[in-house]
């Protein structure tokens, strides 16, 4: 079989961040090729490079065996590529046919030939089994139909190789099944489909071949029939799981956090957390494992008051905080190390001292009355920088001048010094070097020994195995099961993370 697309050694950097690190990809003509990986693995970047939306810093692109330079999307379209983006780009006030032909209107003598456009849209719709009414106004249609229109747009431009970026993210299960049928139809007509996803069941359901990306690199490309979901999980999160567990005393404290049947929606309004219940006791580290994007971040946001719960409750020391503000939750004794430190965890433009001040700007001795005592802030910040090993010129250094690891230590210094009973720790060592990871892990265990209740959310299994007393596995917004930290097996974790339930503690699926 010939190669529809071949990428050789694609490198794409954003500043110092390497989004694609020498990625090779071969897509055979007439196959459905799934690209999987966690959020931030570089899937979308790679496809944007292929489609000419981004220019690679290195590497080659071959279409149908011929090397080409994809300078812009127009060049990509000319080469027979088409891309359906995650976020649709339709004009709601125009009709289906007008949207399909937007920018390449069929016309005569400067006038748009609506009849021809409608007829051609109907033909495409019939040939490819994408049912639409060409005369309907797009603004009135559902998301699933909007996606069909996006696909029709691509087909109308003569695409033979179709790229879909997380096409099912916005679809209902029925719509997803219909989409898969359509994709099958495409390859039956000799076309090639590349689709990005992080849902493994979709990979298994529809793809012929699967490529796994991890941290900007290709892990492997395999025929889908030869891999299991569990294999894919291992590839996505990394195989080298170490089982170096930290020594600990058993925990004996009372319940600090109690979550009951908690639900919430994500930014698109779709259910992200779907009825989770668990407790965290004092002096205990409860880990939450899962492939990124299965509701962990949203759960953390609800527990810190940054996202409203749609159902259920959570209590800290028995106090119901489900609808409380971030301020009140903090005052009750919650510290939060957020998953995305650059967005939420720090203000990069401010000094270390100003970052450490956040959350205590009204509290003595940091402030006297309504005046901030900057001398105290600096002094305390210096002490914390020493204790948490933040390497910088001093408390007045701007946070944006720090490395990722030192930035994270500033966040930990601030949050762990709040004397909170409950620590919500989300991805504490993401993007942090090994030395800093070690000291961050030590600090978490010290907090545990001091009797804090700790919820540790991480996509790194070795981190959870090293630190957690119990591990809850989240999949698709549900807790699939609980594993004891001291006798967890990689297989059991992997199966639960892939959404396969085992054993007697099988939770009810909504």
């Amino acid at each position: 079989m010939s190669h529809a697309v071949e990428l050789r050694g694609i490198v794409k950097r954003f500043g110092t961040f390497v989004a694609n690190d020498c990625v090779d990809l071969v897509v055979k003509a007439g196959e459905i090729h799934a690209i999987v990986g966690e959020n931030g693995a570089g899937k979308t970047t790679l496809m944007n490079v292929l489609f000419g939306l981004l220019q690679p810093d290195g590497g080659e692109i071959l279409i149908d065996g011929k090397p080409i330079v994809v300078a812009n999307p127009r060049a990509a379209i000319a080469a027979g590529l088409g891309m359906v983006h995650q976020h649709f780009k339709l004009v709601p006030s125009l009709t289906v046919a007008e949207n399909v032909f937007l920018g390449m209107e069929r016309g005569r003598a400067g006038f748009v030939d609506h009849k021809a456009q409608i007829a051609e849209t109907e033909r495409l719709s019939r040939d490819f089994g994408l049912k639409v009414d060409p005369t309907e106004q797009v603004g009135l249609l559902s998301v699933g139909i909007e996606q069909r229109i996006e696909i029709l747009k691509v087909l109308a431009r003569g695409a033979r190789i179709i790229i879909l970026d997380e096409p099912t993210a916005v679809l209902t299960p029925q719509e997803s099944r219909e989409l898969f049928q359509t994709l099958r139809g495409f390859v039956a007509q000799g076309m090639t489909v590349i689709f990005i996803t992080h849902h493994l069941e979709e990979v298994m359901a529809v793809s012929d071949t699967v490529t796994v990306l991890r941290l900007g690199r290709k892990v492997d490309t395999r025929p889908t029939a030869d891999v299991t979901k569990n294999d894919l999980v291992q590839m996505m999160v990394g195989r080298s799981v170490s089982f170096d567990r930290r020594q600990r005393e058993p925990s004996t404290g009372g319940t600090v956090l109690s979550v009951k049947d908690l639900w919430c929606r994500d930014d698109r309004g779709l259910p992200a957390v779907r009825g989770v219940s668990f407790d965290v006791r004092a002096g205990e580290v409860v880990g939450i494992a899962g492939v990124a994007g299965n509701g962990q971040t949203e759960l953390a946001e609800v527990l810190s008051g940054l996202r409203p719960a749609s159902h259920g409750t959570f209590r800290i020391h028995g106090e119901d905080l489900t609808a409380a503000s971030p301020r009140r939750i903090r005052d009750t004794g919650v510290a939060h190390v957020p998953g995305d430190r650059v967005v939420r965890g720090v203000d990069r433009q401010s000094s270390i001292a100003a970052n450490i001040l956040m959350g205590r700007q009204d509290t003595p001795p940091w402030a006297r009355g309504s005046l901030i005592d900057w001398a105290v802030v600096r002094e305390r910040s210096s002490e914390m920088m020493e204790r948490f090993d933040v390497r910088a010129s001093g408390p007045d250094a701007l946070v944006k001048s720090l490395s990722g690891g030192n930035m994270q230590k500033v966040v930990l210094a601030r949050e762990f010094s709040h004397d909170a009973d409950f620590l919500l720790v989300d991805q504490p060592t993401r993007g942090v070097d090994i030395g800093a990871t070690e000291s961050i892990h030590n600090e978490i265990m010290r907090q545990r020994a001091d009797g804090r209740a700790i919820l540790l959310i991480s996509v790194q299994l070795d981190e959870l195995i090293a630190l957690a007393d119990r591990i809850l596995v989240m999949f698709n917004g549900l807790i699939m099961g609980e594993l004891p930290g001291d006798s967890v097996s990689e297989e059991a974790l992997g199966l639960l993370m892939a959404g396969v339930q085992t054993g007697p503690d099988r939770a009810a699926v909504a």
Partner: protein
Amino acid sequence: MSETLRPVIGQAIAIFIALALGTVVIMVVGESPILVFATLLEGAFGSTERIAGTLLQTTPILVCGIAACISFRGGLFNIGVEGQLFMGGFAAVIVGIYLPLPAGLHMLVGILVAMLAGMAWIAIPAFFRARYNANEVVSTILSNYVAVLLTSYFTIFLFKRPGGWSETAPILPSAYLPELFSFSRLNWGLIIGLALAVAVQLYFRHTSRGYSVSIMGQNLKFAEYGGVDIKRHIFLVLLASGAVGGLAGGIEALGVHHRFMEGFAPGFGFDGVIAALLANGNPIGTIGAALFFGALRSGSLLLEVDTNASREIITVIQALIILSVSAQILMRRRGDSTAAERRWKF
């Protein structure tokens, strides 16, 4: 390059480019750029009286600039300072005419009412911004037109002084903001403006709330996460900004015109917003920027007398400055990866 110096140098380059382009425009209309700039300088700083005249023009621009600075610091964009100035000025005049009080107290009440009027005028945009995230740029711009036309209507149809001009009766002398010198209308407004600039700067640096607002302006999500009540602070910041806009109107009314009329304070609000932009939201820097715009305005008066160049040349130069400053700010934003997190919209 030091972090504090970089924006200053950027701004200086922006002004330089604008003046260079202005030179081209002046040559195109057939004037000598050297003569025009020399006349501008002469008109702005040529004598004690002219310096006082420049400071008189600087005062409202400065106070309006501080109003804009306050909103910028919170990551908000109050572009309705002009409208708040008109409402404040009008309210102060009404107090000045109809509420006889002892001298001094009368003036203070007038100033206070002017601030309340400015605050009231921004209250609706502020509420919708805080509660429903309605873009304050649009709503405050629109509120400008309403304010200018509404006060004009009141002046002409309800409070017009008998006689030719579209203006109200003069206010009582007890409400006058005292003048600083006998030879100029320059008044205590300048001192108020300077003191306010220092006070606002200190407030943002040294108070808890000032800190919360500054952080909110730089990284909203971080402030929210840290427990700052975002909605409340957005509302309060805009109210404070509106109050200072109203204050600018009160100063103009009680210190300079002693009455309200159509075209009461043309463009001071907008100049103030630009001055604040030029100063990157720093109140102290706004003093310098306001002086620059004040000098352009007062220098342009002599320009019409002594040369064939029209005063509109100054408007052109100002527009060029706005253009190059915005371009410069946008380029700086692009260089900073977290710029997308900031909510300043241009």
